[in-house]
Amino acid sequence: MIQAKLRKTFPARPDSAGFSVDIEFQASAGVTVLFGPSGSGKTLTLDSIAGFVRPDEGRILLDDAILFDGGAGVHLPPRARNCGYVFQNYALFPHMTLRENLTFAVEKRPRLERHRRVNEMLDRFRLQDAAGRRPHEVSGGQKQRCSIARALIGSPKLLLLDEPAQGLDAPLRAELYDVLRQVRADFKTPILLVTHDLDECFELAEEMLVMREGRIVQTGTPRKVLDQPANLDVARLLGRFNLLAGEIRSLDPGRNKSRVLIGEYELDGPYFPGRLKGDRVTVCVRPEQLKASARNGRPGPNQIPAELKRAVETPQSMRLEFSGGIVVDVSQAEFERQRDNQEWVIEFSPASLRVL
């Protein structure tokens, strides 16, 4: 288990704004994802754990080993930290064969054990055929597997991955996720992965730590985070929400009901704990939770009339952009049925409404 509590400040300079990271988290077995936009401090956090960066203060514990302790002045060098690190460009040594790359990581072990481990890894990661070749002579998938195998061969206590899927094409990305799921199943090593891709969180993460401007703003399973973003910033970060200005008109905790005003229309929603009548809020609802249909006279309950501005095709669906900034995802077939609608209404199901 990794427990980290660290702070690092970069003072403002004439040519750059100040920046500080101040976070505390722990992660045990399984995949924990540090999710955030670039510049949120995720890689800095990873590098502090690996030992490339020295935090100003805090404490980093890996199982029972102290990797860093600001108060006691402990700052182990990377080689003594027992953390496997998979780099974005793999960083396989170009002058060594794949086998030599693996051997390099276990050179201090006795000869027989070294040999056994390297072969075991080559088998497990399907690298036997390419073992005698250098990185530039093998496929992207083989490089990827080799870099993960190399990071794991020394039995690290923690595996760190820095945006491993960055810049990969779709098949290679899918292969990477398969390999990482296999690693999660076969090794007990906790995995800490940095990404800014929400789909990747859903592919891999048991737990996701949402970072913004050097702070952790929300933690939870990806499903939970997407279901209920902690605040407007997180919702914007996830980037998959309709965010509409609204006002709470009434609240009924007994029947788990509320009324929310959006524009000139009042909608039913669930009860929102901690809110008061009259609160100005941001209503947050995902595009696939909305229903768009032809307008038939007066809008019905929980419907808002809107004008279709644009229909954009995406790999999974049609994305309809309406006036008032409302976005609705519908299936291709559904859109074909409805494409001749003159006027539209959008239906908000009460259970899907969230307020921030």
Partner: protein, 218 residues
């Protein structure tokens, strides 16, 4: 008239030795300059570069002060080896070393710094000591540029004139390198010898430079 080829062989021998010395010392300094952060780092770099810009006479003067018979180093040398260091071919090695060392440090530093840091980071997370990292990762990755730098240093050692003349002198058959021999031949009006030696050293230098370019770009 027969040409005495001794100066050519002496020059080659001096250049090989001084390049070896420059490689050993230069790599070490270059490693420090490329990897460590300390206050007088750029001052050290400037001091190392100094021989590149100072007149040979100044360098020769410094060397005479440092290793001459009156200097502590010179006296220790004489006690240990029984003969003075100056005005021997060994002094010529030192002169050539001083001449080529800055070039080597400059190029080697650039070569070491050009190695992608992520390889070094990777090696560290894999448990490698700094020593193993240098010999197994950084140096092999920088070796082409360093070999090219060594070739340039070799060519430069071969061509040293001023410093050699001041500390090793011009003793035919003992300390007369090819550059000094050419000067000698011209002074003595020995045109044929001068022409031949000039041609030979030009061809040798051209070959070395071609070789350096080829390994550097490949």
């Amino acid at each position: 008239m027969p040409i005495d080829w001794f100066p050519l062989w002496l020059s080659l021998r001096v250049a090989v030795l001084s390049t070896a010395l420059a490689l050993a010392a230069g790599l070490w300094i270059a490693y420090i300059l490329a990897n460590r952060e300390f206050r007088y780092k750029e001052a050290l770099d400037a001091a190392v570069t100094l021989p590149l810009v100072l007149p040979p006479t100044v360098l020769g003067y410094y060397l005479l002060v440092l290793i001459g018979r009156a200097s502590p180093f010179g006296q220790i040398w004489e006690k240990v080896f029984g003969s003075p260091l100056v005005f021997t071919w060994k002094a010529a090695v030192i002169a050539a070393f001083l001449h080529s060392f800055p070039l080597l440090v400059k190029s080697a530093r650039a070569a070491l710094e050009s190695v992608d840091r992520s390889y070094e980071r990777a090696a560290r997370t894999l448990g490698a000591s700094e020593w193993r990292l240098f010999w197994r990762v950084t140096l092999p990755l920088a070796q082409r540029s360093i070999m090219a730098a060594a070739a340039l240093a070799f060519a430069r050692s071969l061509g040293d004139f001023g410093v050699t003349l001041m500390v090793a002198g011009n003793i035919p058959g003992r300390t007369q390198t090819i550059a000094v021999a050419i000067y000698d031949a011209v002074e003595a009006g020995n045109g044929a010898v001068a022409r031949t030696l000039v041609l030979v050293i030009s061809v040798v230098a051209l070959l070395i430079l071609t070789f350096a370019n080829r390994i550097a770009v490949r």
